[in-house]
């Protein structure tokens, strides 16, 4: 028997209440959970990076280049889960050929291309250009060729040229912040604009997505900065970590406030869908929403960060608390995405019953493939870091 039908048959038996017969199959699985999670990390990491350039937050400077490379590594992976989940990936280029401008999803291609080409790559190129030239001079063979290609053959390291690079980076960051907002806000819009689905349809959705993106991005850079410092046997810069923790704390509080506002608004308006959503929250989503997302992923980290940041703990202890809090935040934000994407499909649009979703282990929609997709950005980041070391102490162009 066809494994799909076998799966649907067991899903049908686990349905409670009435669902439309076509709703037995749950269409957006783990892959579509991973996609907004990853773009969230991109947007968050970029917004953190731009703090240093635009708002002159000097403390977070050590993480600037790392944050940019992280954003790039994750952005390269971002379209893969979408592509893998399509029924016809080979036709995906149609999005560029005949984009339907009224479709939020069609805008993916453009927002993505804009963000990747115009914002991230350009900014990284200008930021690294002088270094690329220096590295090219120092190296030989294939590596020399690689740096020559990456610098597009540029040789000019005159003070005017470097000054222009700085200005360019500043200007691109200025464009980049709204672009990052656009990139993830629009992912929220993909869900928030579906009037058929009361769990998704909310004007707050893009904003909630954005702030959870900032939360996850800051937490990821904090984690990476901590880990890379450990690996390189360097002491992490404590003012920088403290600043990151402060930002993470603020972002978490804003995120929590927005989610609470959304929740209270729904409860107070108490529309037709409230009964089924209540059932959803207290049954299928209880673990992932209340326990993991809210307690473990938001309130826990807020308390930990607030305590560690403003207490007189020794630095090592503080770092550890930050690390644990940031790790919990990642788990929390992932289940936020899960609760939106999967949660929105766990109830029938007839508002009379709950559907069923089971995560498989194998297959394209399975757990293993999902984990591979989440590991891939780190592999890419490893390569990027090897080619374009982001560390302050390895910059060749200090003297120029």
């Amino acid at each position: 028997m066809n494994p799909l039908y076998e799966h649907l048959e067991s899903a049908l038996q686990r349905v409670s209440g009435f669902i439309y017969p076509n709703e037995v199959e749950l269409h957006w699985g783990l892959l579509v959970v991973i996609y907004p999670y990853i773009t969230g990390l991109v947007a968050g990491a970029f917004i953190l990076a731009s703090l240093e350039k635009v708002f002159r937050v000097k403390e977070v400077e050590p993480t600037y280049r790392l944050a940019m490379l992280t954003a790039l590594a994750f952005l390269i992976v971002a379209p893969l889960p979408l592509l893998a989940h399509l029924g016809h990936p080979e036709r995906s280029f149609e999005i560029f050929l005949t984009p339907h401008f009224k479709s939020a999803m069609a805008m993916f291609g453009f927002v993505y291309a804009w963000y990747l080409m115009v914002v991230l790559l350009l900014e990284i190129w200008f930021e690294y250009r002088a270094d690329l030239i220096a590295w090219r001079k120092q190296s030989r063979g294939l590596k020399k060729l690689l740096y020559w290609i990456l610098s597009l053959g540029s040789k000019n390291t005159s003070p005017e040229a470097i000054a222009f690079d700085r200005k360019a980076v500043y200007a691109i960051t200025l464009i980049g912040i709204p672009s990052a907002f656009l990139l993830h806000g629009y992912v929220g819009f993909i869900f928030g604009s579906i009037k058929a689905n009361p769990w998704w349809s909310s004007v707050l959705m893009p904003i909630v997505f954005l702030f959870s993106a900032i939360v996850s991005g800051i937490a990821l850079v904090l984690l990476l900065y901590y880990i890379t410092s450990m690996v390189r046997r360097k002491t992490p810069d404590m003012p920088c970590l403290n600043k990151l923790a402060t930002f993470l704390l603020i972002a978490l509080i804003v995120d929590l406030s927005l989610e609470t506002l959304d929740f209270i608004h729904r409860l107070y308006e108490s529309e037709e869908s409230i009964e089924i959503l209540r059932r959803l929250i207290f049954s299928k989503l209880f673990l992932s929403l209340t326990i993991v997302q809210l307690l473990l992923g938001t309130i826990g980290p807020i308390l930990m960060l607030a305590f560690a940041r403003f207490s007189r703990l020794p630095d090592e202890m503080k770092r550890l608390v930050y690390f644990v809090a940031a790790a919990l935040v990642q788990v929390g934000i992932f289940s936020t995405r899960w609760n939106v994407v999967i949660g929105g499909q766990l109830f029938s649009k007839s508002l009379r019953g709950l559907t069923y979703y089971k995560l498989e282990l194998g297959g394209v929609e399975g757990l293993l493939f999902g984990v591979a997709l989440l590991v891939l950005p780190f592999v890419i980041l490893y390569v990027l870091v090897k080619v374009l070391p982001p560390w302050e102490d390895t910059r060749p162009s200090e003297s120029t």
Partner: protein, 252 residues
């Protein structure tokens, strides 16, 4: 005719605007205004279906005929049309069921003493005049034809399933054989030949009525004249072209 000119200019403006990649949001806002400004074009050939709920006997012949006519997968997870059975109880609660979409009819149930009223409701794609599925399709693989029928281009659909998410009526499914979205076409291959949709053809009680909105002498027009009509989920402003007569408020 200054008004016409304005409408025309607006159309041209919208058309030009649509060429800009960043126009999504703008269009989403201006688009509905345009529909306010211009009359809906209901020409001679603008198809619609009427469903007289109080005539449906729940035999399920329509579901069977639909699957046969349109080669819909036989497994009970894919339906272009299906029949729901409603029971409203003394306490006001409702029980709804649709075993295998009602394709084999409905089994005689226990004679429940606390049933206030019960009835069958046939469901299908509502062929919305303002279709959310078409709005969200990223590539133009699902669309509204000039005669008002919403169709899917099986050779162009990328299988992203956004349309399935956007349909408020659960009328779409992903065909497991082609991996593309699919749904009721009003039997487009039949109606364009002057035949009735298969479900209407086999309905033994004329609970289903098919016709053109612009034609005045048709069973559909008679129904529009004589019955109190309702559409499903009117608050979503999808403007369905499947009209229900004598529909119970419990039906969603």
């Amino acid at each position: 005719m200054p008004d016409d000119r304005a409408a025309c200019d607006r159309r041209k403006f919208l058309h030009d605007l649509a060429k800009l990649p960043c126009a999504t949001l703008l269009l989403g806002v201006v688009g509905p205004l345009e529909t306010l400004a211009t009359e809906t074009e209901e020409g001679e050939e603008y198809y619609a279906m009427g469903i007289q709920v109080d005539r449906c006997i729940g035999c399920g012949l329509c579901v069977q005929a639909c699957k046969t006519e349109n080669d819909v997968p036989q497994e009970p997870y894919f339906f272009r049309t299906w029949v729901e059975h409603y029971e409203i109880h003394d306490d006001g609660s409702a029980t709804v069921e649709s075993p295998e979409g009602g394709i084999h009819g409905f089994p005689p149930g226990d004679d429940d003493r606390d049933v206030l009223r019960s009835f069958f409701v046939p469901k299908l794609c509502n062929q919305c005049d303002n279709p959310p599925c078409v709005q969200v399709c990223p590539v133009g693989a699902t669309f509204k034809t000039e005669d008002g029928v919403v169709l899917v281009d099986q050779d162009y659909c990328i299988g992203c399933r956004y349309c399935i998410q956007a349909c408020p009526y659960g009328a779409r499914y992903l065909d497991p054989r082609t991996k593309t979205a699919d749904k009721c076409t009003f039997c487009y291959h039949r109606i364009t030949k002057g035949l009735l949709p298969a479900c209407v053809e086999v309905c033994p009680t004329q609970a289903r009525v098919f016709g053109e909105l612009g034609t005045r002498s048709s069973p559909l027009h008679r129904m529009k004249r004589q019955d109190s009509l309702h559409v499903l989920k009117p608050s979503l402003n999808t403007e369905p072209k499947v009209l229900y007569a004598n529909l119970d408020g419990e039906v969603r």
